[in-house]
């Protein structure tokens, strides 16, 4: 059963009452969220004519404040993400929320993986999950995906060197039927693409799921189009699905469709692109800040979040799957103060 079914009008009609309900729920169960709503003039019982009217939280707030809608003794799992500046988002899940996020992620990925678990080639090293001390966002991402495959083989050895024999062994055993390849975008490009091209590996039965952004590949002038073209031309891999997601909206991935250009929203999610001057929603074709919307967050007020990513809607109900489809264009730079209380790091050396 696919979760990419709802056309935009139906989607908004289904999401709006649920999101309004979530706003009330989080207001009732979290003082911090209730305080914010009161301060920005969103009183209890307010009705909204449109999902774009719902109050959003800046996503970085989860790095600076504890925002949760469950009592401490019901916290089952705290998810963290390390940001580039070292501060960490903390996302609180109860048992139910933790189960829901895995379930919904599974349903979303089924759209491209099918109902059965596939043999899985992980474009990473076991080192990143073995060493608990350096347990990173990358490690967490890999662990989160690993449940969606079976018979895992790691494409890099413990020293992060491509393990040609391991990959060859995996392909010999599973390469004639559909298999899953997962990795971070830059790892997949740096390690799998070259390895496969140079050794003539046949990836034509693979389904690649990757994420993490293109920033690290800018130097190599690789964008989504070049990535897809090169893999197809040199390895036969055509089923390539990038995805966009964040720990603050756990359980939701915006998945690249079979048309290979755009990210699509699962039925329980949506996006809005906002003009960063007026904060009004923007129509397709106009780039702005990405607001992510989802009905999954029950244990923390993350149902409507303003990200610091820039994106553009490519179309609505005119793509491979229904709803809005969009691209991520980059990240807003972090604002810097240039005041005299700025630490003179050099001198402090």
């Amino acid at each position: 059963m696919s979760v990419f079914t709802l056309a935009q009008p139906d989607r908004e009609a289904q999401l709006l009452p649920r999101l309004t309900e979530l706003t009330e729920r989080h207001r009732a169960r979290g003082a911090a969220y209730a305080n914010i709503l009161a301060a920005i003039g969103h009183g209890p019982g307010r009705t909204y004519a449109d999902t774009t009217e719902l109050p959003w939280l800046p996503v970085r707030l989860f790095k600076t404040h504890e925002l949760k809608s469950i009592p401490d003794d019901e916290v089952f799992k705290v998810l963290t993400s390390s940001g580039t500046t070292g501060d960490v988002s903390r996302i609180y899940l109860d048992k139910e929320a933790a189960a829901a996020q895995t379930r919904m992620l599974g349903q979303t990925l089924q759209a491209v993986l099918g109902p059965k678990r596939l043999p899985m080639l992980v474009i990473d090293t076991t080192a990143i999950i073995k060493n608990r001390r350096s347990f990173s966002a990358r490690g967490a991402g890999v662990l989160g995906m690993i449940t969606f495959g079976r018979d895992h083989v790691w494409a890099l050895d413990e020293d992060s060197k491509p393990d040609l024999e391991a990959v060859r062994g995996f392909l010999a055993k599973h390469g004639d039927k559909p298999f899953l390849i997962f990795g971070f975008t830059f790892m997949v490009w740096l390690y799998l693409y070259e390895l496969a091209r140079d050794h003539g590996l046949d990836l034509s039965n693979g389904v690649l799921v990757h994420s993490g952004g293109w920033k690290k590949l800018v130097d190599q002038q690789v964008d989504n189009a070049e990535f897809r073209r090169a893999f197809q031309a040199d390895t036969g891999l055509t089923r390539i699905h990038n995805f966009y997601g964040m720990v603050e909206q756990i359980g939701v991935v915006y998945l690249e469709g079979p048309d290979g250009n755009s990210l699509y929203c699962p039925d329980f999610a949506d996006i809005v692109i906002r003009d960063p001057e007026t904060w009004e929603p923007l129509p397709p074709g106009k780039p702005g800040l990405v607001e992510v919307i989802s009905t999954l967050p029950e244990s923390y007020p993350g149902h409507v979040l303003l990200t610091e990513d820039l994106g553009v809607i490519n179309g609505i109900d005119d793509g491979a799957w229904p709803g809005k489809h969009f691209s991520i264009l980059g990240r807003l730079p972090r604002a810097e103060a240039r005041g005299c209380s700025d630490t003179f790091v050099g001198a402090a050396a």
Binding site: A31, A32, Y33, N35, I36, A38, A39, I40, G41, L57, P58, R60, L61, T64, H65, L67, P276, E277, L289, L306, E308, L332, P333, R334, A335, A337, R338, G339, C340, S341, D342, T343, F344, V345, G346, A347, A348, A349
Partner: protein, 415 residues
């Protein structure tokens, strides 16, 4: 040990490169041509005056308005007044301290020049560590200094150095170990880190660490003001608010409305409109990244209950209503964030003031009211009270120190 890059004087007496710290210290400590520097040394005055003229040239002042203020500060008459203020008299004479080492803040482009110029005027030999990150106005200042050096007395090039070096403990330690006064600007962490290096027994510290600043409006004063005065107040406040992205030590973070609550409400509405007009007129914009910064910080204040209301007037101005004086904001919240609070009197404010609090910029108060406030403060904090528009205007008395006094020592004489 890392090598030093000399930024001033560019035509250094030694063109040896790379320059070691020992060599630098030896060079700068040599006795200059025509004798040792004295307080108010004519050779230094001439150089500073030439530098001031260069800064006040229209091309420069247009590009960097802050350099205009600096040029004004260093005019001949201003220098004479400053030296006079030291008050040398029979039985009490001022003398230079010796070698002064300056660690200016990385991001405020020009503050190092004030600190250095006054120290030079006091007859000291100086080494200024200029940040490698320096840009814009700082580069222009260094150019201007080097430009006017050609006509200056050789003693200037001999005794004054502005240098840049990469993060290096040993170099910092060597410089600090050789100086008679170290001037430390910057965040608390960097000031404390620099303090870890031992100094010679007689060496003194002059530290300018993190500070916080506020603004206040007298509601009766506002009511009594003419429309033109009110507009000027909004204009001055806008300058104070946006200069250095509101991140300077003297940038106001909170705005106290002092007077009757209902009347304050009326005044606040009018002030908000005027401020919006001023900001629009000047075409000031706050970029999206800064706007997001402000959403994060102000929503954060709301989350904890420190703020009861958060309202954005476009991206440029975020108006925050604070819950009370216990929630005064002393940290940077993003450029153009005003935390308002209405109180009955300045006396109510006094207990909330801390030693860290530096500047109170004010509108509409009388001298006796402000004087009474200082009495009520009883030393808790606040180093300067200035009218709106002058929060960031540097003065020879800063952070409670008379800099020329600090840059000299007193010799008492009894026959």
């Amino acid at each position: 040990m890392t090598s030093l890059e000399v930024r001033f004087p560019l035509s250094s007496v030694s063109s040896a490169s790379p320059l070691s710290v020992d060599r630098l210290l030896a060079e700068v400590s040599e006795e200059p041509v025509d004798g040792r520097l004295v307080v108010g040394d004519e050779r230094v005055r001439d150089f500073l005056v030439a530098f001031s003229r260069r800064l006040l040239k229209p091309d420069l002042a247009r590009r960097h308005p802050e350099l205009g203020s600096l040029g004004f500060f260093l005019r001949k008459a201003e220098l004479a007044r400053a030296v006079e203020r030291l008050g040398d008299r029979p039985g009490s004479r001022r003398s230079p301290r010796g070698l002064v080492l300056h660690f200016p803040p990385a991001n405020v482009d020009t503050i190092f020049v004030y600190s250095w110029a006054l120290s030079a005027l006091a007859g000291n030999h100086n080494i200024v560590r200029v940040s490698a990150r320096s840009a814009g106005a700082a580069e222009t200042v260094l150019e201007a200094l080097n430009d006017v050096l050609a006509d200056a007395h050789p003693a200037i090039a001999q005794t004054q150095r502005m240098i840049t070096y990469d993060r290096d403990e040993a170099t910092t330690a060597a410089l600090i170990g050789a100086c008679d006064l170290r001037v430390l600007w910057g965040g608390d962490a960097s000031v404390n880190a620099l303090r870890q290096h031992p100094v010679r027994p007689l060496t003194r510290d002059l530290a300018f660490p993190d500070r916080s600043s506020f603004a206040t409006i007298s509601v009766p004063g506002w009511q009594a003001a003419t429309p033109a005065q009110r507009r000027a107040a909004a204009d001055g406040f806008a300058n104070d608010l946006y200069w250095f992205d509101q991140a300077a030590c003297s940038s106001p973070r909170d705005l106290f409305w002092v007077g009757d609550a209902a009347a304050a409400q009326v005044a606040r509405t009018e002030f908000a409109d005027l401020l919006a007009e001023v900001v629009a007129q000047r075409g000031w914009v706050v970029d999206p990244a800064m706007a997001v910064e402000k959403y994060v910080s102000t929503y954060g204040l709301a989350a904890t209950g420190a703020a009861t209301r958060v309202a954005f007037a476009g991206n440029a101005v975020a108006n925050v209503e604070l819950s009370g004086l216990d929630d005064l904001q002393r940290h940077w919240l993003g450029a153009g964030t005003i935390c308002h609070i209405t109180i009955g009197s300045l006396a109510e404010l006094a207990p909330a003031i801390q030693r860290k609090d530096q500047t109170l910029s004010q509108f509409g108060f009388t001298m006796p009211e402000l004087d009474d406030f200082v009495t009520t403060l009883a030393g808790r904090g606040i180093d300067r009270i200035v009218p709106f528009g002058q929060a960031l205007t540097f003065a020879g008395i800063w952070d409670g120190f008379d800099l020329l006094h600090e840059f000299t020592r007193i010799i008492t004489i009894q026959a």
